[in-house]
């Protein structure tokens, strides 16, 4: 299938500062791609390049097979939703939805149809005559999406559309966006630095850092087989636990501890040398279950965070701190001795120098 969006050797600099470096990316028809990364890594910049809001320094951009590198934003067949929504404050919701269409000379009846459809999908029919100031955060968000929706385009671009909202609303709207994608089935690129959003929404996630894409893959791939230590640490909360040590025939040795890595699926065959051994908190079992796992350790509870559904416990194992996720009903006290166990097959091991996955 022809990709919906292709980015070829994209370079972008602000003066002397190079922000995006020789970036390549293909996004399939109807795919939901999330750009994830910490602040300042170039996510918005990339999105703006795709939208045509920034003039790129070098490279090419194709949308729907057409080279749009030097097209006007409005001619690229994209719709965009901004973090601050950027609604036109003095126009009604309807005005916000129709302003672009009127301007493009779309016939009146057609405009009415499209607005009606968008309003129906987003359930904002009762709001059409209000001004943005009279809307709640979630409603504004929906109107902002509506403005992209009425444009009837193949590609939607979202720049952290939920980050100004509170947690509850964020969760609700996340679901709505997901459903919208299922309904419309058009290509969406979504920028966020919230990994829950990324994990739940994405067909594929691109993890960015310093203007480069570190890993591009499905949420599952990224979660279970992070390509490097940065990605492994970035994804998951609490973060992956790391042991600093050495890999040899006997398995993995970190100071006083030594355990087997049998069952670990090495990316390019088994390697030896200094390495990071990483295991996620939820892959560490406790109590009776721990006994059944290949690797067993024991530690003292140092901090307990009951989340209701789960309880996060930080253990002190030697001089290491290890996070463990326990069932919501377990309520260890601080100082409790806890047995843990895990299966190295579910771990991630990284080369000490390159920090690449082994």
């Amino acid at each position: 299938m022809e990709p919906s969006i292709s980015i070829r050797n994209l370079d972008l600099s602000f003066g002397a500062v190079s922000v995006l470096k020789d970036l390549n990316l293909d996004i399939g028809q109807g795919e939901f791609l999330v750009l994830l990364g910490s602040s300042g890594c170039g996510k918005s910049t990339l999105l703006n390049c795709i939208a045509g809001l920034l003039d790129i320094t070098d490279g090419q951009i194709f949308i729907g097979g057409r080279n749009v590198t030097w097209e006007e934003p409005s001619k690229r067949g994209i719709g965009m939703v901004f973090q601050s929504y950027a609604l036109y404050p003095q126009m009604t919701v309807e005005g916000n939805l129709t302003f672009g269409l009127k301007n493009a000379g779309v016939p009146k009846t057609e405009i009415a149809q499209r607005v009606a459809r968008a309003a129906k999908i987003l359930q904002i029919e009762p709001l059409l005559n209000r001004k943005p100031a009279a809307l709640s955060g979630g409603q504004r968000q929906r109107v902002a999406i509506g403005r992209a929706l009425v444009r009837d385009v193949d590609v939607f671009l979202f720049d952290e559309p939920l980050s100004n909202l509170d947690a509850k609303l964020r969760a609700d709207l996340r679901v709505e966006i997901k459903q919208l994608h299922q309904t419309l089935d058009n290509t969406m690129i979504y920028v966020t630095h919230d990994q829950i959003e990324a994990m739940t929404l994405a067909d594929r996630i691109a993890i960015m850092r310093g203007g480069l894409i570190l890993q591009l893959g499905t949420p599952d791939e990224i979660y279970t087989r992070p390509a490097n230590k940065y990605v492994a640490e970035f994804i998951g909360s609490p973060s992956m636990n790391f042991f600093d040590g050495h890999l040899d025939e006997s398995g993995f040795t970190a100071k006083d501890i030594n355990f087997t890595v049998d069952g670990y699926d090495f990316a390019n065959g088994r390697k030896h040398g200094p390495a990071w051994f990483g295991i996620r908190p939820e892959h560490i079992l406790t109590g009776a279950e721990a006994e059944t796992r290949p690797v067993r350790l024991s530690g003292t509870a140092d901090l307990v965070e009951p989340l209701g559904s789960d309880t996060l416990v930080r253990l002190r194992v030697g001089d290491r701190l290890i996070w463990v996720r326990m069932d919501g009903r377990s309520k260890p006290a601080i100082g409790d001795q806890i047995q843990i166990g895990f299966n190295p097959a579910r771990a991630s091991i990284f080369d000490k120098d390159s920090e690449e996955r082994l």
Partner: protein, 295 residues
């Protein structure tokens, strides 16, 4: 302290610090205005005196051609100067906002006339517009013998000559205010408009300008306050002439009080100015300062 402290001493320091403001507002502006209004009903000549004459001063005021001309001039000058300074100021600001180079240089050039007094402005423009030395002479000098450009000497045009100078002096400040306002607009709005395919001029007209309401209001206050007070420029540039073609209310007031030595008449004219200002301002002031509180 378990009892509720007295309301009076609440925020005591703030109240103490506001004493100059309260005094100025009450004694100078309110007191002075009331005093002026009261004495406008007297037949005061050189010195204020309580010789009541009812509405005589007002009758005479509205029967005086010069006052009517003054009002008309102020209206022409005021409306045009508002429109042009807002339009020119905004357009300049919009141009300056295009991430241009040498912004500092241009800004300084547009702003420097504001550093000069109206007296100086009036003088320079009187000269530039003088048909014997100024632009007309120069253009005739290069061959266009019949070129005429002497607004200050043509009663129908003189007020526009003053407008010319007034705009030269004042638009720089308006530009600065507008520029500051433009800089305050969320970048995303521009991006949204571009994605919507809205041409720049439409974006300015239908989106950006309505969003800059507070800037326009502050600007409006500053410009209007200047317009009502228009005096020095006229005196320096035309002295109210030719004839009474460029008379303005403030000058009428001043001349009545000090040249004609008819304080009562001057006060009546001041009162009329005051009343019109208040009629324009009260609703606005109520909306701006009375109604809303900072949350």
């Amino acid at each position: 302290m378990s009892t509720r402290p007295s309301r009076l001493f609440h925020n005591m320091n703030a109240k103490i610090a506001s004493v100059p403001m309260v005094l100025t507002a009450m004694v100078v502006f309110l007191g002075g205005s009331i005093w002026t209004v009261v004495y406008s009903f007297t037949d005061s000549k050189l010195l204020p005196r309580e010789k009541w004459v009812g509405l005589d001063q007002y009758e005479r005021l509205w029967g005086t051609n010069r006052w009517l001309v003054s009002i008309e001039n102020l209206a022409i000058y005021g409306v045009l100067s508002l429109i042009f300074s807002l339009v020119i100021g905004f357009v300049l600001a919009a141009l300056m906002d295009q991430k241009i180079r040498f912004e500092d240089v241009f800004r300084t050039i547009f702003l420097y006339p504001f550093a000069l007094s109206f007296i100086v402005t009036g003088l320079v423009w009187q000269w530039l517009l003088n048909p014997d030395f100024g632009v007309q002479n120069v253009i005739r000098g290069i061959g266009f013998e019949s070129f005429t450009f002497d607004p200050l000497y043509d009663a129908d045009l003189a007020i526009y000559g003053i407008l010319f100078a007034g705009l030269w002096q004042g638009t720089g400040l308006v530009m600065c205010l507008m520029l500051a306002g433009l800089r305050g607009i969320d970048e995303d709005i521009w991006k949204a408009a571009r994605v919507d395919g809205i041409p720049a001029w439409k974006t300015y007209l239908f989106i950006v300008i309505p969003m800059m309401r507070p800037v326009f209001i502050t600007t409006l206050v500053i410009i209007t306050a200047g317009i009502v007070k228009l005096y020095d420029l006229v005196v320096a540039q035309t002295g109210g002439g030719p004839g009474i073609a460029t008379e303005v209310p403030a000058k009428y007031v001043y001349d009545m009080m000090f040249q004609a030595q008819n304080l009562g008449q001057g006060f009546a004219a001041s009162t009329m100015m005051l009343v019109s200002v208040i009629i324009i301002l009260i609703p606005w002031a109520y909306l701006e300062f009375g109604g809303k509180r900072r949350g």
